[in-house]
Symmetry: C2
Subunit: 185 residues, 2 copies
């Protein structure tokens, strides 16, 4: 099988921001032709699926400027450079929900948009949640409402397109599968 | 419940490309403070979960420059402005796999990275695939290997991090759930 690799001929740095950087690479394609690739660099992120003791899930409601609307997601946040994703998971869970967990387990990782971005998202499952007396404060520019939902309520939020992003849809499918497996046991 | 909305005070256009545009918005936060939001604009995309008649799945192997590696994904492609996602789905399925489908059904949609991008991805399921005699050509700068996998092979590709992106992980979970439901019938 031939290599599909694209060689970088030149990188033009366009933008360096707080969350993302943007560059355009001139590349040589496998057939020797040339093309351009627009690339968003992101430090990576962590998301947490937080189950309550009574079998419900905690979600966060947040305005997302790129969508110009408020949606409901599992808690998540970006990693500091070089940070262990488990450390990010603990911090973001506490900041966004006010809970900590003694049972925070790694589930999976995926690239959110490999066509134009290198963002890698690590997903954890949190059980045995403990309410923190004085939880870590949210970031100064983050405004969040905590929401607790049953599987039926989550289903309605999907229909209403209030749950509408990849990581939360993945979490909802994971939840459904867990319930299906429990039912069959 | 208070509004979480962020008002746009000013938009600075940074970059306009073939795939994405970038802008930075100055916003007024719900508490009256000010902040900046880095926003990638994307026309939206479509992905297809293509099942073969013998219960396997077709995937495409492709070099992803933002990741600097070759990964294996469900077929996908971006929408032309104003295009019906079903039209995109038919085109991308044929271009990337050489198949058409008489049973192409809408499954779901999700934002891939709502923190910094407005990309909305529509997911379709394709069954009853027909091999096209003279399929639509791939884009000039796209180089793709078609791969057909069993559920066990897909599982191995996930472990090897060759399947490693959100839409394909979602598709794999969907496949697992379908098999679980069939088993129980």
């Amino acid at each position: 099988m031939d290599s599909l690799e694209e060689k970088t001929l030149h990188t033009e740095k366009i933008f360096s921001g707080n969350v993302i950087d943007l560059q355009v690479d001139d590349v040589e394609l496998p057939n020797g032709e040339k093309s351009k690739r627009e690339i968003v660099k992101h430090p990576g992120a962590v998301a947490i699926i937080p189950f309550s003791a009574d079998g419900e899930m905690y979600l966060v409601e947040q305005f997302r400027k790129p969508l110009e609307k408020t949606i409901i997601e599992i808690p998540a946040g970006k990693m500091e450079p070089g940070e262990d994703p488990l450390v990010t998971a603990r911090r973001e869970l506490e900041e966004e929900t006010g809970f900590q967990s003694d049972d925070l387990t790694y589930l999976t990782s995926f690239y959110t948009s490999p066509g134009f971005a290198n963002e890698l998202l690590h997903v954890y499952v949190a059980r045995d949640l403990r309410k923190m007396e004085q939880p870590l404060a949210q970031d100064a520019d983050e405004f969040i409402n905590l929401v607790k939902v049953t599987p039926e309520e989550a289903e309605q939020l999907i229909e209403q397109q209030l749950i509408h992003d990849a990581k939360t849809m993945y979490a909802m499918q994971y939840w459904k599968m867990q319930l299906l497996i429990e039912e069959n046991e």
